[in-house]
């Protein structure tokens, strides 16, 4: 499906959705509260069939966090990027590990390094850092006076 057709379809599914122009892939912005139901529709709606979540990451903008999800459909060969801005003081979003199984590990990684809370995640533990580690190392305000020089 072409980006223009996807746009029309998404607006039908979720009227509050907004789009970001430029770039090869269609970028979609939505509120975190709308994310879970939209994610389910991405996966199940005939014609969309986004069956593969191939990248899940987070960006720290200091004023807010942005969750970034890349989806592709192995049936229709179309891609989208879904972004959602989270509150800097209480970053939380619903898990999609029950929709795409791979999200379980990817969300654990983002939790480990950014401290984003994924609600209803089955096993939200640290993945890479030691279990007793304190702090979220990839946040911009992370400080480690022993190992890091403050720039």
């Amino acid at each position: 499906m072409l980006n223009e057709d996807l746009k029309i379809m998404f607006t039908g599914l979720l009227p509050t959705i907004s789009f970001e122009e430029g770039g090869e892939w269609l970028n979609v912005f939505l509120a975190p509260s709308e994310f879970k139901s939209f994610a389910r529709q991405l996966r199940t709606t005939p014609g969309l069939d986004f069956d593969y979540l191939f990248c899940l990451t987070c960006v720290d903008w200091k004023t807010h966090f942005t969750m970034v999800y890349h989806f592709t459909s192995t049936i229709h060969r179309h891609n989208i990027v879904v972004k959602s801005n989270l509150d800097v003081n209480n970053p939380e979003i619903e898990t999609v590990s029950d929709v795409w199984r791979t999200a379980e590990m990817l969300e654990r990684e983002v939790f480990d390094l950014f401290g984003i809370k994924f609600l209803h995640h089955p096993d939200l533990r640290r993945l890479i850092m030691p279990d007793d580690w304190e702090g979220w190392p990839l946040r911009k305000n992370y400080e480690d006076p022993v190992n890091m020089v403050k720039l």
Binding site: P137, D144, N147, M148, V149
Partner: protein
């Protein structure tokens, strides 16, 4: 190269060879002969943690070929390796693994720190929570190679420097051993 009998690496050999009828006599010090033998048969451990490892593989392959200098076969177990080339960044989680590999290697053993990461934590990665600022915080290093990554020629030079160090009895291990034997 000239392949007359007199030219065949006798210069390199620590000692004198006296030709006599029906054979010959070798005069030398046992320590020096041992060091000479060891320095010409150093087996590296297959160990690489980042991009320097690619350069190390290139040095092992046909074009540069470190087996010309006696670094014959890369061993996949520390039990059979003599030298460990730290090719890449060592992170805090890798440090205990590196220490264990070093401890598992049989004596005598030698260490080469290849590239900026192994020397000091690296040009890009030093200002983080996760990187060890130099592999010599974990294990003792004999030869350092600067570069990011070093040229294959630089690694060959380091390997030859290590051989010279072994022949001179100046690696960290040999110095430690000597101070233990002759306090």
């Amino acid at each position: 190269m000239d392949v007359e009998e007199n030219n065949i690496s006798k210069k390199d050999f620590p000692g004198e060879i006296h030709e006599t009828a029906g054979g010959g006599i070798v005069l030398s010090k046992l320590d020096e002969v041992i060091n000479w033998a060891r320095s010409n048969s150093l087996w590296p451990l297959t160990f690489a943690t980042s991009c320097c490892g690619i350069e190390m593989m290139s040095v092992a392959s046909a074009k540069y070929d470190f087996s010309r200098f006696g670094f014959e076969v890369a061993r996949a177990t520390p039990r059979q390796a003599d030298v460990i080339i730290i090719a890449g960044t060592i992170v805090n989680k890798m440090a205990p693994v590196l220490r264990r590999l070093y401890d598992q290697m049989a004596d005598p053993k030698y260490v080469i720190a290849m590239g900026a990461c192994a020397i000091s934590g690296g040009p890009f990665f030093y200002n983080t929570y996760s990187v060890v600022k130099g592999a010599d915080h974990v294990i003792p290093v004999d030869v350092y190679i600067p570069g990011c990554p070093p040229r294959p020629e630089a690694l060959l030079h380091a390997l030859i420097s290590l051989q010279q160090k072994i022949k001179a009895g100046l690696t960290r291990e040999q110095i430690k051993e000597n101070s233990f034997l002759n306090p």
